[in-house]
Symmetry: C2
Subunit: 225 residues, 2 copies
DNA sequence: CTGACTTTGTGCATCGGTTCACAAAGGGAT
DNA sequence: ATCCCTTTGTGAACCGATGCACAAAGTCAG
């Protein structure tokens, strides 16, 4: 039973949270183009979702629209940013400075959303000491020290699968509770730690499934048991 | 009751399709370690899901387990691979050979799953002509010709947001119906085309949301409305 | 062959998320 | 001020996915 005295329902559905960044991106684009207000219909179109869904999503944050008019772009940007925690500065460490790590270090989308790449860490002595995206690459032995010193709260793992669990354990041990994992392994972490994973090959496999179905379409003979 | 020998039920739930690659990965690992059969409990553990879910997922492909014993690893690998369409060879073109494109080109997870990087394409004359991951980088002007010549059926877009829609339109025009998009824009495509998107900054934003909540946790004073 | 044991496959209740459709709320014209 | 028009916010129906719990189906020992 939930208390009715709490006007802001802090229980925002996970599906909604996953879409807020999408809305935010669309809104930033509109703000740049000087659009002052936007209807749920238009914003939904720009974000690629259905307008009823968008309205329900936004309603979870509060009543920030004006009936008959729409939403004020700047105000909504602020509200969504605040809800997502982007009004504060997040120090991110990228572990693994291969091509993927470099791509991430140079990715503009981070900086513009309140994320600051605060450290680059690698195990390869060949790379350690290099400057990438304006940052010095530090040795994995320094992992714990760097995380503490720079106040890192989010760690991105862009390392081989074989090393992932081990590094994961180390960052969890120094208190990191948010991890973005690009290594193709299931990380085992305590309940309190949040792991999100991105597996590039999984996305391709899902595409292949649908592509195959399209191709085989109406045909699709008996399977080869 | 349905005939178990005929998994004619082509309506596999989307959520299941998204997990099949996960099971496949776990199974490959087991096959390598010489494990011949596995129970739903163990496989679910390795894939990071609940065992009832795993069994229900697999039941959509057919009855490939043996009660009292479990699933034969090799056989299950084959069945899932076939269902996902990984028993055939998929030619993939990567458009955009920046750091991300390079990371993808070198990513071993593709090759080992039936995907073959058949072309690298970029607009930068500085890069065109280079050899990366054993492939010659071709000019974007050749886009249509290369796709046709190599039989490319899946295109990966690893290009700036500003160029994405335009390139997307071109690949769709030559008949590509599966696109993996890394550019932070909503692509508009015909109904028949499948687009999956990966937005690196969205994942970080979702992490930030949860991290913020943890930090503010039990406290969370009244908000300023 | 029988009976104990293991593990699958699934019916069913449940839950979270999506969509519809409309009353409520505001703006602007007259 | 009043009425009409637009658009939000949301109740309620619907839909797909999840997880429990167990009967069915198989193995294996004796």
């Amino acid at each position: 039973m939930k208390s009715p005295s709490q006007p802001r329902d802090r229980g925002i559905p996970e599906a909604t949270v996953a879409r807020l960044p999408l809305y935010l991106r669309a809104l930033h684009g509109m703000a740049e183009r000087g659009i002052a207000t936007v209807s749920s219909e238009d914003l939904a179109g720009a974000a690629g979702v259905n307008s009823a869904k968008l309205r329900k999503d936004l309603s979870h944050l509060g009543s920030y629209g004006t009936r008959g008019v729409g939403y004020e772009v700047e105000y909504l940007v602020y509200q969504i940013s605040r809800e997502l925690g982007l009004t504060q500065d997040w120090a991110v460490a990228i572990v693994g400075v291969g091509n993927l790590g470099r791509a991430l270090a140079n990715y503009g989308g981070f900086v513009s959303r309140g994320f600051r790449v605060a450290a680059l860490i690698d195990a390869d002595p060949e790379i350690v000491g290099d400057t990438i995206a304006g940052l010095n690459v530090e040795h994995i032995d320094e992992l714990e020290a760097v995380i503490k010193r720079r106040g890192v709260s989010i760690v991105v793992l862009a390392i081989p699968a074989a090393a992932a669990q081990q590094v994961c354990d180390r960052v969890v041990a120094v208190g990191v509770t948010s991890i973005l994992n690009f290594a193709p392994v299931v990380l085992s972490v305590p309940e309190s730690v949040d792991v999100r994973k991105v597996d590039l090959s999984i996305e391709l496999q899902i595409l292949a499934f649908h592509e195959q179905r399209k191709a085989g379409g109406p045909l699709m003979a008996v399977d080869g048991q």
